[in-house]
Symmetry: C2
Subunit: 344 residues, 2 copies
DNA sequence: TTAAACTAGTTAAACGTTTAACTTATTGAT
DNA sequence: ATCAATAAGTTAAACGTTTAACTAGTTTAA
């Protein structure tokens, strides 16, 4: 004995109105009087009615689904960076009564470009691309003329909507924090300077120094490692201290580099923060387990997802074709790896 | 100039058949001759036609969506355990032309039980529950009479479909591996013995020893820590070696414990694997970075997701009401933390 | 030879909404 | 007093499928 689905007809009957009226109430149409509205709303509640998604999308041509695309290795990274962005997207989508469909694509695509199924099946109203995906895939996706926003990934040869974090501001507030603690000789430990994020962080660093009228010392800006990981953080710190002895603070371009640098300092009996203050960037989980816990710039991953969805929905609704850049601010998280510098 | 959607009508027209015929071809109905079928298939390809999901589900009452529920902390865990299960589910769902909708629920639910939206909205044909969720939520979910399978989570007071890993087998093959390497005095480092998984691993350990006719020595079975983490692994190892000196191998109930034990051994200048062979369980990513890399039991997380979806789809299709248990086998991964024991 | 049984399709209703176009009653302006 | 404008609904078509019931032609069985 299947219990039949409760439809708009049942609601209409119980509220003594036409099904059109019920529909208009559901869609918050102003044409319905307050009395009728509450009567209908009541019937909906009593009957525990939920409109059929399929019937709705059949006529409205909206699926109320959003696609979320990332590479499988991004999704599976130990550090839950993109997972958090996805979760933020999922949250914001839910608030707007959207569902999000995930598709992972392979990082290397030998066997041609693989367009996620929901794109050509028309199962989504828009898509979010998180992190770097193969260039060809992006171009293919753009051809579909489907609303699309990229998050934490930017190519400046194409113009499309994008949500990014404010790397320049991050570099600035990290450096300003150290300046406020009386540090003058602040080193920058960067990885690959060609990476746009790192370049921006360096810009922030430099502009904070300039604003404080401190001359930029290129000798304590280390940007020759290919990739910003722990090992290179360690090596960069060594390089730094082999050639300089008046540095009192370090701004590392990410937490991994900072952790590596911290290890170097520990190995050489240099105390953090008594001898050297240290600031990272990203706010990865491991930071809390460090001794001392790392002062860093928090990247609001959840927010990135939230903003991406907000922006995407805006595009879907307004057909807003101007592809702006949304820059999400970052935040300074003060822990114990930084302290005031006293001139001895 | 919106380009109109290509519908079944267009295909029918082009293939010179009725729309019913097209539908029957799409659904692989045997009533259609081979000639007509290929004619239709051809039209579909030429026109690049994809059936409208909403129209399909409106009449078929199937959404072709699967719900995936886990707690937010499980989803955000640094170690991508549930993320992998989710990905496996996503893969298998895609292969069967399903989409999966994710919902995270809060671990502690002060404000009443929170049923994911897709459940009462009827947006999914079935749901997968991954990992432990609040008991009340599970009971509420079961009330909906919607097809449901739990993965990596089991309560033996309720009877429902479940996909689990074979902990007993895992305990056995881990122990047998050590036995094959000539070890006789093999310790077991367990956390909370009340946890069903750990209890099962111990059962596997014991039965392997019995099969090899080796007497079980309760003194080298350490199961008094509340939780199997690194610290407790370290402490358990200390406890073990404080009271025993003939142990030549350790089977730790999970990798975290193993890593803790390895640290203890390192701190006490006991060499792995020369002095002590060590086997873990789980195969977490960190194992590869260890020195030496850890021999362990791999839990096939992707497979867990795959199996859960397979099972769920089976239930959806066959209305199979017998709620069986699916046990996914685990695999021994031999790295460098184990080696042959030579009697000196 | 004839009826029954297949085979390979077609017709048309149904699924549960939205929405343009219509209706009817009320209000406002002149 | 008259007509236009507004308010608050209703009617009915449309969205793109599936599928039960039907049809017409061909085989099979006795």
């Amino acid at each position: 004995m299947e219990k039949a689905r409760i439809t708009i007809k049942d609601v209409a009957k119980r509220a003594n109105v036409s099904i059109a009226t019920v529909s208009l109430v559901i869609n918050n149409n102003a044409r319905i009087s307050k009395t009728t509205r509450t009567k209908v709303l009541n019937a909906i509640k009593v009957l525990n009615y939920y409109p059929s998604k399929s019937a709705q999308s059949l006529v409205s041509k909206k699926t109320r689904n959003l696609g979320f695309i990332l590479t499988d290795d991004h999704f599976l990274r130990t550090e839950p960076f993109y997972t958090r962005i996805f979760l933020g997207a999922e949250f914001e989508a839910g608030r707007n009564e959207y569902y999000v469909l995930l598709a992972t694509v392979k990082t290397d695509y030998n066997e041609g470009v693989q367009i996620p199924r929901f794109v050509f099946e028309g199962s989504v109203d828009g898509i979010i691309i998180a992190g770097k995906i193969p260039t060809e895939l992006l171009s293919e996706l753009l051809k579909f003329k489907i609303p699309l926003v990229c998050v934490d990934f930017y190519r400046n040869d194409i113009d499309y909507p994008v949500v990014l974090i404010d790397n320049i501001q991050g570099g600035m507030i990290a450096t300003e924090h150290l300046l406020n603690l009386n540090h003058k000789n602040i080193a920058f430990l960067g990885g690959d300077i060609n990476h746009p994020s790192i370049a921006d962080r360096l810009i922030g660093y430099k502009s904070a120094l300039q604003k404080a009228n401190i001359k930029i010392n290129e000798n304590i800006i280390i940007t020759n490692s290919p990739y910003p990981n722990r090992q290179n953080g360690y090596d960069s710190a060594r390089l730094l201290f082999d050639n300089n002895n008046d540095v009192t603070a370090i701004f590392a371009c990410n937490d991994a580099m900072a952790i590596g640098a911290m290890q170097y300092l520990k190995d050489n009996n240099i105390y953090v923060p008594q001898d050297i203050s240290l600031v990272g960037f990203d706010d990865v989980e491991a930071n809390l387990l460090l001794d001392p816990p790392l002062t860093t710039i928090r990247v609001p991953k959840i927010d990135l997802g939230v903003e991406a969805v907000k922006y995407l929905i805006e595009i879907i609704n307004n057909k807003n074709t101007t592809s702006k850049k949304i820059i999400v601010p970052v935040e300074l998280i003060i822990r114990n790896s930084t302290s005031e510098h006293y001139i001895k």
